[in-house]
Structure formats: structure tokens, C-alpha cells
Symmetry: C2
Subunit: 300 residues, 2 copies
């Protein structure tokens, strides 16, 4: 479980995810760009565009090291500015508003002498929330969590609710998922166990999203539904630029800007004071964008 | 020059600007929403949409008062949390990529016992930079400034360059303009003089933008030019959500979210690693997005 092993696992995960997404999309292929970071390390940015299912998506791997800026050392309460960070980051924006946006990030971090932790999460942003799919999505995450620790799902589900929250809109970004950070052996679990859980969560991405693509991608949609998708994407942009810590970390450490902002959609819309029609599917979705909702226990 | 007078002047300015924009647009009318702020005060939000020239624009007046959050009191280095703030804020996003985006904000602020200042600015974001128009725009601003103080234009032009800068892209938002803040009698000018300059700057908005609308609105444009406009708007969104202090102030003081974010365009685009064609008009514009460029002295 040294750095090198983890880096190889993440690269293999990136390969597997790209292959599965290309296959389910059926049309577009990932383009790859290799980049080096001036302060140390680099990455493999992979972007897929204008596919049959995916309008714009990125599956990025990076492994960077060097010295953190003082402001981050303080914020992260680290003893040293030396750091190593590696991870895989994914955001997929589909063409069809009935296919949800998905985001995953799994990361491993080392600082100074001997400090280490794992972090990560998967969360879903359906433009239209469908009860059975929301339930199914959360069940998949709970299943992975429960294999390791029954406290993980409730704890990390709440963490996602709190994290993926657009304060100025008083709404969640989507239906959440799981999110955790700084998980290490102080939690009572060994590095071996945590690593295994973390990698397994990463491996859950493909079966989850391929299923959601597959069951939704052929649905027809109207202009109103497309418009609503663009508005939801606008909120996604607001979250990522105003609150997302990964984006801020990237901007503050002079990361590769095109890789950091690959999470932004091809097209987004802001319409002044847009209010969905009463009793519409759009209104129903908007009303469900709240914290602490029990998606698994939810039955319509 | 008490609060009440300034409030009336700003309301009259809002009226005049809305009337002039409606006339030059020739099709759409402003819709008004009156709102109250929970902590004190309120505003008149006016939005124009889907016009012949303007795709989306806002001309907002507000006058709010109450207690600033502690974090802002510190940031602004104030002696007291009591505040009063009034201003007019404008952002106009046109349909035609050959018409520039414009922004103006003029504001008056009071804090605690007797502290006061004026602030404001006008800046232009052409999707395509045309030498004569950039020169003309800056000349208009310089003319107003020079009537009061010859140090204003160079000082406030530099301030705009530094302020409207997208650090993570290493580019300016547009061609800048003038920007100033906390201008009061410590500057050596009386409140009367500063107020007069400030109001005159506000009055320059109509002749400037009506001219720029009028000479550009009938130009034909291609799909490539429309696409470039959407990308430039994406950068506008990045600036406003990541750096703009007015936006942050609004979000942190629980301002009316639809009024604060009226600055965001109807439609914006992010395309991975978009690089304009060599020697294209797009490339030429991108290369001009830099600080400390002498727009007035520039001759092609």
C-alpha cells in the first residue's frame, strides 16, 4: 500500500472506467492529454465529447507532489508543507436530461513525515429525480459501505448532503451519495481495510453509471426538459465555482486549469427567477433537493 | 448630499437607463420586481429579456441597511457593523456577438458614525475587440474623469485592470474601463466634488452603451462567432462566481439571490481546451485580454 501501488491502482481504474463508458456510449472515444505540473508530478486528463449519450465528460487521473501554499497548510492543519496527492476525478454530463449527471472522486493524500489519508465519494445529480433510481443508487453505495463498516453509509451520506449543498440557493446539488475525507487509522480501521473500502467504492462507479445510462438513454425528451437540464447545469456550475474544495484546491495550487474545469458543462443556462410549473416533474425534483432525505426508505 | 438625495438620484438614474435601453432595443420591456431585505431596506430589480438586441440584462437599484456580518466588518476594516449601502448595478448580455457585454456599478456606502465613501466603475467585455471601439470607449471614460481630476483615469483604469482579472486563466475579463472604491474626502477632494464625478460617471452609461448597441446590432454573425460568444460568457461566469466582490458581498449578506445572479448570462459554454484558430479574430481578441494595455494610444 505504498504510493506506487496506489498510483497503479488508480491508473488501472481510470482505464477500466474509460473503457466501460466508451462501450455504453457506443459512439465517442476519450481523448487523452498528458501533463506535467511545474511544482512536481502530473496527470492523464481524458475527455469524451459529443457522444451518443455523453455530451461532455472527464475521467482524470493525477499524481502530484511538492510544497503546499502556506494558506492550505493552515487550512488543512498540516505539520508540513510537503505533500503527495493522487486521485481519479470524474464528472459526466449526458445529452439526454433523463440521464443523471454523475461525479466521483477518490483520492489518497500524504503530508510531511508519515501523515496519510484516503478520501472520496460518489454523488448523483439527476435533472429529474425518479424514486426507484434514487433508491437503487443509494442502495448500491450502502452495500459497498456495509461490507466494511455499518457506520460508513449513514455517516458518509450525511457528509455528502452537507458538502454538496448550494447554500445561497438553499438546495442540494442533487440527491447526494457518499463523501468522506481524511480517513486513516485513527478511525479504528487499518490502512489495509480503508484502502480496500476506498478501492471498492471506486470499482462501484462502472456498474452504477452504466446501468443508469442504459435504462435512461433512449427516453425521448421535450424542449422544456432540455431547458430544465440547462438550468440544473447552471446550478452545478454555481456549486463547483463557489463551493467545491477540489476546484479551489486546484486553483490555489496552480493546477492545470483545463483539467480542473472539465467538470463544467458544454452548455448551461441562467434564467431570471425561473419557477417550474405547479405540479410539474420539474417542481417535484426541485422540492426534493434537500438534505437528510432518506432515499432508500422512500417509497412513492 | 444626504442619503435620501443620493437614493433619489440613483432611482432616477435607473429610470433613465431603463428607458434608453428599451428604446435602443426596440422590442423588449423591463419587468420590475420590488423586494425587501429581512435585515433592512430593499430594492427594485429590473430585468429585460429576449429583446431584439438584449438577450438578458439587469438594471438593479438597491438601498439596504443593518448590521454587517463580523467577517465583512474585519475585511472592510470598519469601526462599526452598522451600515447603509445604496447603488445601481447593471449587466447587459446582448444576442449579437458583435455587441459587447457591459457592466456598471455605482454605489454609496456609510458605516458607523460618519464614515462614508463612493465607489463604482464601468467596464466593457467585447466578444470581439475592435480597435476603434475600444479606443472610443476608454476616451469617453477618460473625458469624464479628466473633468474632475487628471489622476483619476490612469489610476482607476489600472484599478479596473487589476480587479477584472481572471487569475486562473491569466486573462482580463474584457478591455476593462474604470473602477474605484472608498473614495472620500481623505482623497483631497470634497464630498461635493466626488459625488458630482460619481454621478457623472453614472450618466455616461447611456451615451456609451446606446452608441455601441447602435453601431453593432445589425451586423450579421456566424455559428462560430455565436459559439465564441458562449465561451466568452463562460469566462464571465467564472469571474463573477470566483472573484467578484459584489457577488460575494451579496451572498455573504444573504442578499436577494435572483438579483445578485442576474449578471449571469442566459446561455454559456465550456469547451475543453478550446483554442481559437491561428490568425482568427477570436485569437486576436484572446491575445488582447491583458492588463496595462493602452487602449487610447493603440492604433492598428
Amino acid at each position: 500500500m505504498n504510493r506506487e501501488t496506489i498510483v497503479e491502482e488508480l491508473k488501472a481504474l481510470q482505464d477500466a472506467i474509460c473503457a466501460a463508458l466508451e462501450q455504453e456510449d457506443g459512439s465517442a472515444k476519450f481523448e487523452e492529454e498528458l501533463w506535467d505540473r511545474e511544482g512536481g508530478g502530473g496527470g492523464r486528463t481524458r475527455i469524451i465529447r459529443h457522444g451518443a449519450v455523453i455530451e461532455k465528460g472527464g475521467v482524470n487521473f493525477s499524481a502530484v507532489h511538492g510544497q503546499l501554499p502556506e494558506v492550505l497548510v493552515k487550512e488543512l492543519k498540516l505539520e508540513s508543507a510537503d505533500f503527495f496527492a493522487t486521485g481519479v476525478s470524474i464528472v459526466i454530463h449526458p445529452n439526454n436530461p433523463h440521464v443523471p449527471i454523475i461525479h466521483m472522486n477518490i483520492r489518497y493524500f500524504e503530508a510531511g513525515q508519515g501523515e496519510w489519508w484516503f478520501g472520496g465519494g460518489i454523488d448523483l445529480t439527476p435533472h429529474y429525480i425518479i424514486a426507484e433510481q434514487a433508491q437503487w443508487f443509494h442502495e448500491q453505495l450502502k452495500n459497498v459501505c456495509d461490507q466494511y463498516d455499518e457506520s460508513y453509509y449513514p455517516k458518509f451520506k450525511k457528509w455528502a448532503d452537507d458538502y454538496f449543498f448550494i447554500k445561497h440557493r438553499n438546495e442540494t446539488r442533487g440527491i447526494g451519495g457518499v463523501f468522506f475525507d481524511r480517513l486513516n487509522d485513527k478511525s479504528g480501521r487499518s490502512k489495509y481495510e480503508i484502502h480496500d473500502y476506498w478501492l471498492n467504492l471506486g470499482n462501484t462507479f462502472v456498474p452504477i453509471y452504466v446501468h443508469l445510462m442504459s435504462i435512461n438513454k433512449s427516453k425521448s425528451f421535450t424542449q422544456t426538459e432540455k431547458n430544465w437540464q440547462l438550468i440544473r447545469r447552471g446550478r452545478y456550475v454555481e456549486f463547483n465555482l463557489v463551493y467545491d474544495r477540489g476546484t479551489k484546491f486546484g486553483l490555489e495550487t496552480n493546477g492545470r486549469i483545463e483539467s480542473i474545469l472539465m467538470s463544467l458543462p458544454e452548455l448551461a443556462s441562467w434564467q431570471y427567477n425561473y419557477i417550474p410549473e405547479s405540479h410539474s416533474f420539474e417542481e417535484q425534483t426541485a422540492q426534493l433537493l434537500r438534505k437528510n432525505f432518506d432515499w432508500i426508505g422512500w417509497s412513492k
